[in-house]
Symmetry: none
Subunit: 288 residues, 2 copies
Amino acid sequence: MVDILGTLSQEMDGLSRSEQRIAGIIFDDRPFAVNASIIELAARAEVSPPTVTRFCRRLGCQSFSEFKVRLAQSAFIGQRYEEPQSNATNVQEVVETILTRAQSVLHSLHDHLDMDAIDAAATAIAKADMVYAFGSGGNSSLFAGELQNRLFRLGLRTSSSNDHSMQLMTASTVSANDVVIGLSISGRNRELVRALDVASGYGAKVITISKPNSLVAETAATNIGIDLAEGVDVLRPSSARFAFLAAIDIVAHLVAIKRKDLAIEPLRRIKSQLVTHRDGDDSQPLGD
Amino acid sequence: MVDILGTLSQEMDGLSRSEQRIAGIIFDDRPFAVNASIIELAARAEVSPPTVTRFCRRLGCQSFSEFKVRLAQSAFIGQRYEEPQSNATNVQEVVETILTRAQSVLHSLHDHLDMDAIDAAATAIAKADMVYAFGSGGNSSLFAGELQNRLFRLGLRTSSSNDHSMQLMTASTVSANDVVIGLSISGRNRELVRALDVASGYGAKVITISKPNSLVAETAATNIGIDLAEGVDVLRPSSARFAFLAAIDIVAHLVAIKRKDLAIEPLRRIKSQLVTHRDGDDSQPLGD
DNA sequence: CGAATTTATGTAAATTATTTTCTTGTTGAT
DNA sequence: ATCAACAAGAAAATAATTTACATAAATTCG
């Protein structure tokens, strides 16, 4: 089930004037919208009740009350309606802007993710002899590290690198049952492309998480496509990272499921080491 | 707003037989209860609609629809953190579970984030002579790297370390206008605590992003508290990471605003280097 | 530019959901 | 056994929501 307010914020342009007025009230005063009857909501938006019904239908709900329930469940933060987005300067606004954008990114990921690619990637990784994760630059090298961080726990032999020369050399040593994962937001990292091509030439299965149809994506047997417009404000951190991390989470979780029996023991050992050598609290996440 | 399901389980004894039957259905099948009309719910509990109305009133709601909204809110919060675990084995479900949880984490961050701490942290960082970011373990070392990745772009001298010995040695070299940022999900990283204490002793301003009231948090002049219950399923990646990254994004963005004039030039230079040495596409995020 | 068509929206009627009122039945104390 | 007090349903009243239809606005196309 998808978050209704996430959907709403994406569909905004497709709405008519009256419908946008309704949406405005919903973003502006969620407590009111959640508790109001269709008549009250219609009155406040200065539209007729049937318009509200139509509005709900357009968002994929079968009735107004279904819409209300979904609205009540929504975890979407959303910004005050009037706010012109990017000149937010006070703390409250920055917090709202960044969290809302992160949520929107996750929401749109939900719509665009290629489930088959995800599944193919997880299947290949789960039975790999060795997994290599390659990425460079401020963001993608973080992703490569993260992939290693997730996969080694599942008892997979994993190595990550953000160094082009190492990637190239490593790629020359792979064998047929290995998986090489290439990460790139832009999809234009030519050094990475070279390394992936080499790995592919030596028979490794190449998986990428990158922009669809990009240079990097073209090198892969399976590409998990992530394509999100970045804002223009250079001061604003790129929220694509949330999408990449979520994609990595999803793949890693699926690998964990596919390797369930193999993964339990390494996880148990890691936990036991941490608990023994730290301070015996068993309830913490695995690794700080 | 009180949690209606909590209220319900407390009031259980005070309910009549019919009302308990209604309660039973609500506990048993919340998706049904949340979507059903009063007639459907009454039919399933084999009671009459007025009995359902009375039931809602007894729980402090003014009407059935108010009850339903409250139920939707509280049921969903439970549902979000509760494990739909073992049955989430197909790709679609895993994707939804992970994205929903990530979104919920961001939502709850929005509710709990201490704006004053955020602002104080950003102010201190923005005018620091040098910024050190310390974190260890699979997750927190990633955060430390991320913090460096964000801050160096703003023309701040920044260094990060995930090595306890280095942290300790580095902490011995700090001076009064430096800022040291400690990162820890659990708040129990004793080696980090030691390094932060040392840095603090030499006059640096210590900021932490960690669990409120934890050992790590106690060392700081300013702690940005993040406390999110982790699921119990060891196979599932910890979604606290999204909260930490979002917090880092927020702080970094505020620093960027506070340093606006100082930050533009380094950003321009980074971009120009990337564009010159890669392939002239100006529309990409800063760094792959 | 203006007719034709589509789309958006409101009004009023029909339907459905919910609550109120009233009645009956049940339980348990005296 | 009788009376209170409570529980719960039936039917009626009310309120909310949707449907069907009509009209106005916007858009397309000649």
